[in-house]
Symmetry: C2
Protein backbone atom coordinates (compact mmCIF):
# COMPACT_ATOMS: atom_id res chain seq x y z
CA UNK A 1 0.00 0.00 0.00
CA UNK A 2 1.31 3.44 -0.84
CA UNK A 3 0.30 7.08 -0.79
CA UNK A 4 -1.10 8.78 -3.89
CA UNK A 5 1.59 10.21 -6.19
CA UNK A 6 3.19 13.35 -4.74
CA UNK A 7 1.83 12.74 -1.22
CA UNK A 8 4.26 12.38 1.69
CA UNK A 9 4.07 11.42 5.35
CA UNK A 10 6.29 12.74 8.13
CA UNK A 11 6.39 13.93 11.73
CA UNK A 12 4.51 17.18 12.45
CA UNK A 13 6.93 20.08 12.83
CA UNK A 14 6.66 23.22 14.97
CA UNK A 15 6.84 25.26 11.73
CA UNK A 16 3.77 23.55 10.23
CA UNK A 17 1.21 26.06 11.54
CA UNK A 18 0.35 27.56 8.15
CA UNK A 19 0.24 24.23 6.32
CA UNK A 20 -3.37 23.37 7.13
CA UNK A 21 -3.06 21.11 10.15
CA UNK A 22 -5.65 23.07 12.16
CA UNK A 23 -8.14 22.96 9.29
CA UNK A 24 -7.61 19.21 9.03
CA UNK A 25 -8.22 18.79 12.77
CA UNK A 26 -11.42 20.83 12.45
CA UNK A 27 -12.94 18.01 10.44
CA UNK A 28 -12.54 15.89 13.62
CA UNK A 29 -13.67 18.24 16.39
CA UNK A 30 -13.49 21.75 17.85
CA UNK A 31 -9.99 23.20 17.51
CA UNK A 32 -10.52 26.81 18.59
CA UNK A 33 -8.32 29.81 18.09
CA UNK A 34 -4.68 28.78 18.42
CA UNK A 35 -1.94 31.31 17.73
CA UNK A 36 1.18 30.46 15.73
CA UNK A 37 3.50 30.96 18.78
CA UNK A 38 1.32 28.70 20.94
CA UNK A 39 1.24 26.03 18.24
CA UNK A 40 5.00 26.26 17.83
CA UNK A 41 5.47 25.99 21.58
CA UNK A 42 3.29 22.88 21.93
CA UNK A 43 4.82 20.98 19.02
CA UNK A 44 8.31 21.94 20.23
CA UNK A 45 7.34 20.69 23.69
CA UNK A 46 6.21 17.37 22.21
CA UNK A 47 9.70 17.06 20.72
CA UNK A 48 11.28 17.37 24.17
CA UNK A 49 9.17 14.79 26.05
CA UNK A 50 11.32 11.66 26.04
CA UNK A 51 11.04 8.10 27.30
CA UNK A 52 13.07 6.66 30.16
CA UNK A 53 16.12 6.19 27.93
CA UNK A 54 16.02 9.85 26.97
CA UNK A 55 16.24 8.84 23.30
CA UNK A 56 12.70 8.33 22.07
CA UNK A 57 9.71 10.62 21.73
CA UNK A 58 6.60 9.93 23.78
CA UNK A 59 4.48 12.05 21.43
CA UNK A 60 4.61 10.94 17.81
CA UNK A 61 2.36 13.16 15.67
CA UNK A 62 2.28 12.37 11.95
CA UNK A 63 0.96 14.37 9.02
CA UNK A 64 0.24 13.48 5.40
CA UNK A 65 0.86 16.28 2.89
CA UNK A 66 -0.52 16.46 -0.63
CA UNK A 67 1.47 17.39 -3.74
CA UNK A 68 1.11 21.09 -2.81
CA UNK A 69 2.62 20.53 0.65
CA UNK A 70 -0.75 21.03 2.32
CA UNK A 71 -1.51 18.85 5.36
CA UNK A 72 -4.55 16.73 4.53
CA UNK A 73 -4.42 14.12 7.30
CA UNK A 74 -2.99 13.84 10.79
CA UNK A 75 -2.80 11.43 13.69
CA UNK A 76 -0.88 10.82 16.92
CA UNK A 77 0.56 7.88 18.77
CA UNK A 78 1.87 8.55 22.23
CA UNK A 79 3.66 5.98 24.29
CA UNK A 80 2.78 5.25 27.90
CA UNK A 81 5.48 3.65 30.09
CA UNK A 82 3.90 1.27 32.57
CA UNK A 83 4.90 -0.97 35.48
CA UNK A 84 2.72 -3.90 34.36
CA UNK A 85 3.83 -6.40 31.72
CA UNK A 86 7.45 -6.11 32.80
CA UNK A 87 7.70 -2.33 32.54
CA UNK A 88 5.66 -2.60 29.36
CA UNK A 89 4.79 0.06 26.82
CA UNK A 90 1.32 0.85 25.52
CA UNK A 91 0.68 3.02 22.47
CA UNK A 92 -2.34 5.30 22.43
CA UNK A 93 -3.60 6.40 19.02
CA UNK A 94 -5.40 9.74 19.16
CA UNK A 95 -6.87 12.48 17.01
CA UNK A 96 -7.04 10.78 13.64
CA UNK A 97 -8.29 13.26 11.10
CA UNK A 98 -8.52 13.25 7.31
CA UNK A 99 -9.83 16.21 5.32
CA UNK A 100 -13.26 15.27 4.00
CA UNK A 101 -12.27 16.41 0.50
CA UNK A 102 -9.52 13.74 0.62
CA UNK A 103 -11.71 10.78 1.46
CA UNK A 104 -11.45 7.68 -0.73
CA UNK A 105 -7.67 7.78 -1.08
CA UNK A 106 -7.09 5.42 1.85
CA UNK A 107 -5.11 8.12 3.70
CA UNK A 108 -6.68 7.06 7.01
CA UNK A 109 -5.59 3.46 6.53
CA UNK A 110 -2.08 4.54 5.56
CA UNK A 111 -1.88 6.79 8.63
CA UNK A 112 -3.05 4.08 11.04
CA UNK A 113 -0.62 1.59 9.51
CA UNK A 114 2.25 4.04 10.04
CA UNK A 115 1.24 4.87 13.62
CA UNK A 116 0.88 1.15 14.33
CA UNK A 117 4.33 0.47 12.86
CA UNK A 118 5.83 3.17 15.13
CA UNK A 119 4.18 1.63 18.21
CA UNK A 120 5.30 -1.88 17.30
CA UNK A 121 8.89 -0.83 16.59
CA UNK A 122 8.92 1.12 19.84
CA UNK A 123 8.22 -2.18 21.59
CA UNK A 124 4.61 -1.67 22.69
CA UNK A 125 2.90 -4.89 23.75
CA UNK A 126 -0.37 -3.33 22.64
CA UNK A 127 -1.79 -0.24 21.00
CA UNK A 128 -5.24 1.02 21.91
CA UNK A 129 -7.62 3.62 20.57
CA UNK A 130 -11.19 4.67 21.17
CA UNK A 131 -13.68 5.17 18.37
CA UNK A 132 -17.33 5.50 17.54
CA UNK A 133 -19.21 2.28 16.90
CA UNK A 134 -19.53 3.28 13.22
CA UNK A 135 -15.74 3.20 12.78
CA UNK A 136 -15.14 -0.28 14.22
CA UNK A 137 -15.10 -1.84 10.73
CA UNK A 138 -12.41 0.57 9.54
CA UNK A 139 -10.13 -0.23 12.48
CA UNK A 140 -10.74 -3.95 12.02
CA UNK A 141 -9.34 -3.55 8.49
CA UNK A 142 -6.28 -2.00 10.14
CA UNK A 143 -5.78 -5.10 12.33
CA UNK A 144 -7.50 -3.88 15.50
CA UNK A 145 -10.26 -5.69 17.37
CA UNK A 146 -12.87 -4.63 19.87
CA UNK A 147 -11.53 -4.94 23.42
CA UNK A 148 -13.69 -2.94 25.79
CA UNK A 149 -15.80 0.09 26.53
CA UNK A 150 -14.61 3.70 26.50
CA UNK A 151 -15.95 5.65 29.47
CA UNK A 152 -15.56 9.39 29.84
CA UNK A 153 -16.37 12.35 32.04
CA UNK A 154 -16.40 15.91 30.74
CA UNK A 155 -15.77 19.17 32.53
CA UNK A 156 -17.60 21.93 30.73
CA UNK A 157 -15.81 24.53 32.83
CA UNK A 158 -12.51 23.35 31.40
CA UNK A 159 -13.79 23.10 27.86
CA UNK A 160 -13.13 25.50 25.05
CA UNK B 1 -16.74 9.76 51.37
CA UNK B 2 -13.56 8.85 53.24
CA UNK B 3 -11.02 6.05 53.51
CA UNK B 4 -11.28 3.42 56.26
CA UNK B 5 -9.57 4.47 59.50
CA UNK B 6 -5.78 4.34 59.24
CA UNK B 7 -5.78 4.19 55.43
CA UNK B 8 -4.00 6.89 53.44
CA UNK B 9 -3.70 7.93 49.80
CA UNK B 10 -0.69 9.55 48.19
CA UNK B 11 1.49 9.63 45.09
CA UNK B 12 3.51 6.46 44.39
CA UNK B 13 7.17 6.97 45.35
CA UNK B 14 10.32 5.44 43.84
CA UNK B 15 11.03 3.91 47.28
CA UNK B 16 7.70 2.02 47.38
CA UNK B 17 9.02 -1.20 45.79
CA UNK B 18 8.73 -3.32 48.93
CA UNK B 19 5.34 -1.96 49.99
CA UNK B 20 3.22 -4.32 47.93
CA UNK B 21 2.48 -2.31 44.81
CA UNK B 22 3.54 -5.12 42.47
CA UNK B 23 1.35 -7.63 44.30
CA UNK B 24 -1.57 -5.22 44.05
CA UNK B 25 -1.01 -4.81 40.30
CA UNK B 26 -0.93 -8.60 39.93
CA UNK B 27 -4.60 -8.71 40.81
CA UNK B 28 -5.14 -6.67 37.61
CA UNK B 29 -2.84 -8.36 35.09
CA UNK B 30 0.62 -9.84 34.42
CA UNK B 31 3.33 -7.81 36.12
CA UNK B 32 6.40 -9.97 35.60
CA UNK B 33 9.75 -9.88 37.31
CA UNK B 34 10.70 -6.28 37.99
CA UNK B 35 13.85 -5.50 39.99
CA UNK B 36 13.97 -2.83 42.67
CA UNK B 37 16.43 -0.65 40.70
CA UNK B 38 14.26 -0.84 37.57
CA UNK B 39 11.14 0.04 39.58
CA UNK B 40 12.96 2.95 41.20
CA UNK B 41 14.16 4.16 37.82
CA UNK B 42 10.70 4.10 36.23
CA UNK B 43 8.92 5.86 39.09
CA UNK B 44 11.72 8.43 39.25
CA UNK B 45 11.36 8.93 35.50
CA UNK B 46 7.62 9.52 35.92
CA UNK B 47 8.51 12.30 38.36
CA UNK B 48 10.62 14.04 35.71
CA UNK B 49 8.11 14.03 32.83
CA UNK B 50 6.54 17.47 32.94
CA UNK B 51 3.88 19.39 31.04
CA UNK B 52 4.57 22.37 28.78
CA UNK B 53 4.89 24.72 31.76
CA UNK B 54 7.56 22.50 33.29
CA UNK B 55 5.63 22.56 36.58
CA UNK B 56 3.15 19.70 36.50
CA UNK B 57 3.54 15.95 36.26
CA UNK B 58 2.18 14.14 33.22
CA UNK B 59 2.17 10.83 35.12
CA UNK B 60 0.16 10.86 38.33
CA UNK B 61 0.24 7.43 40.00
CA UNK B 62 -1.64 7.13 43.28
CA UNK B 63 -1.56 4.43 45.95
CA UNK B 64 -3.78 3.67 48.91
CA UNK B 65 -2.00 2.22 51.95
CA UNK B 66 -3.64 0.35 54.81
CA UNK B 67 -2.92 0.93 58.49
CA UNK B 68 0.23 -1.22 58.19
CA UNK B 69 1.60 0.96 55.37
CA UNK B 70 0.96 -1.77 52.81
CA UNK B 71 -0.19 -0.69 49.35
CA UNK B 72 -3.62 -2.17 48.76
CA UNK B 73 -4.84 -0.17 45.76
CA UNK B 74 -3.25 1.78 42.93
CA UNK B 75 -4.23 3.76 39.85
CA UNK B 76 -2.80 6.25 37.36
CA UNK B 77 -3.94 9.35 35.58
CA UNK B 78 -1.67 10.69 32.92
CA UNK B 79 -2.30 13.92 31.11
CA UNK B 80 -2.15 14.25 27.34
CA UNK B 81 -1.50 17.71 25.89
CA UNK B 82 -3.40 18.13 22.64
CA UNK B 83 -3.84 20.68 19.85
CA UNK B 84 -7.63 20.27 19.66
CA UNK B 85 -10.02 22.05 22.02
CA UNK B 86 -7.74 25.08 22.25
CA UNK B 87 -4.59 23.21 23.27
CA UNK B 88 -6.80 21.09 25.50
CA UNK B 89 -5.82 18.48 28.06
CA UNK B 90 -7.21 14.96 28.29
CA UNK B 91 -6.70 12.74 31.31
CA UNK B 92 -6.25 9.01 30.79
CA UNK B 93 -7.03 6.77 33.75
CA UNK B 94 -5.08 3.51 33.64
CA UNK B 95 -4.19 0.44 35.67
CA UNK B 96 -6.76 0.61 38.43
CA UNK B 97 -6.12 -2.21 40.84
CA UNK B 98 -7.46 -3.07 44.28
CA UNK B 99 -6.29 -6.12 46.26
CA UNK B 100 -9.08 -8.66 46.19
CA UNK B 101 -8.81 -9.09 49.98
CA UNK B 102 -9.68 -5.38 50.28
CA UNK B 103 -12.88 -5.45 48.23
CA UNK B 104 -16.02 -3.95 49.78
CA UNK B 105 -14.28 -0.95 51.35
CA UNK B 106 -15.00 1.33 48.39
CA UNK B 107 -11.28 1.84 47.81
CA UNK B 108 -11.80 1.71 44.04
CA UNK B 109 -14.41 4.45 44.19
CA UNK B 110 -12.18 6.59 46.42
CA UNK B 111 -9.25 6.10 44.03
CA UNK B 112 -11.26 7.02 40.92
CA UNK B 113 -12.66 10.09 42.68
CA UNK B 114 -9.14 11.24 43.55
CA UNK B 115 -7.78 10.60 40.06
CA UNK B 116 -10.77 12.43 38.61
CA UNK B 117 -10.19 15.38 40.95
CA UNK B 118 -6.55 15.57 39.81
CA UNK B 119 -7.60 15.59 36.15
CA UNK B 120 -10.25 18.23 36.71
CA UNK B 121 -7.94 20.50 38.71
CA UNK B 122 -5.26 20.05 36.07
CA UNK B 123 -7.75 21.57 33.62
CA UNK B 124 -8.66 18.53 31.54
CA UNK B 125 -11.77 19.06 29.41
CA UNK B 126 -12.37 15.32 29.67
CA UNK B 127 -11.01 12.19 31.30
CA UNK B 128 -11.30 8.84 29.56
CA UNK B 129 -10.70 5.24 30.52
CA UNK B 130 -11.31 1.83 29.01
CA UNK B 131 -12.96 -0.98 30.90
CA UNK B 132 -14.66 -4.32 30.55
CA UNK B 133 -18.40 -4.26 29.96
CA UNK B 134 -18.90 -5.73 33.46
CA UNK B 135 -17.34 -2.64 35.08
CA UNK B 136 -19.47 -0.03 33.30
CA UNK B 137 -21.85 0.22 36.27
CA UNK B 138 -18.99 0.93 38.68
CA UNK B 139 -17.65 3.76 36.54
CA UNK B 140 -21.14 5.19 36.09
CA UNK B 141 -21.29 5.48 39.89
CA UNK B 142 -18.03 7.47 39.62
CA UNK B 143 -19.66 9.93 37.19
CA UNK B 144 -18.46 8.44 33.91
CA UNK B 145 -20.63 7.50 30.96
CA UNK B 146 -20.17 5.23 27.99
CA UNK B 147 -18.66 7.13 25.09
CA UNK B 148 -17.27 4.70 22.54
CA UNK B 149 -15.52 1.47 21.73
CA UNK B 150 -12.01 0.50 22.78
CA UNK B 151 -10.06 -1.12 19.95
CA UNK B 152 -6.68 -2.75 20.38
CA UNK B 153 -3.92 -4.60 18.60
CA UNK B 154 -1.42 -6.79 20.46
CA UNK B 155 2.15 -7.70 19.57
CA UNK B 156 3.00 -11.02 21.14
CA UNK B 157 6.66 -10.54 20.22
CA UNK B 158 6.75 -7.45 22.42
CA UNK B 159 4.81 -9.03 25.25
CA UNK B 160 6.19 -10.27 28.51
Amino acid sequence: MSLPKGYTIRRLQPSDYSKGVLKTLESLTTVGSISEPDFHKLVSHWNTVKDISGKYNIYNPLVILDESEVIVATGMIFIEEKIIHGLGLVGHIEDISVLSSQQGKKLGKFLIDELTRIGKEYGCYKIILDCDRKNVGFYEKCGYHEAGVEMQIRFESNKL
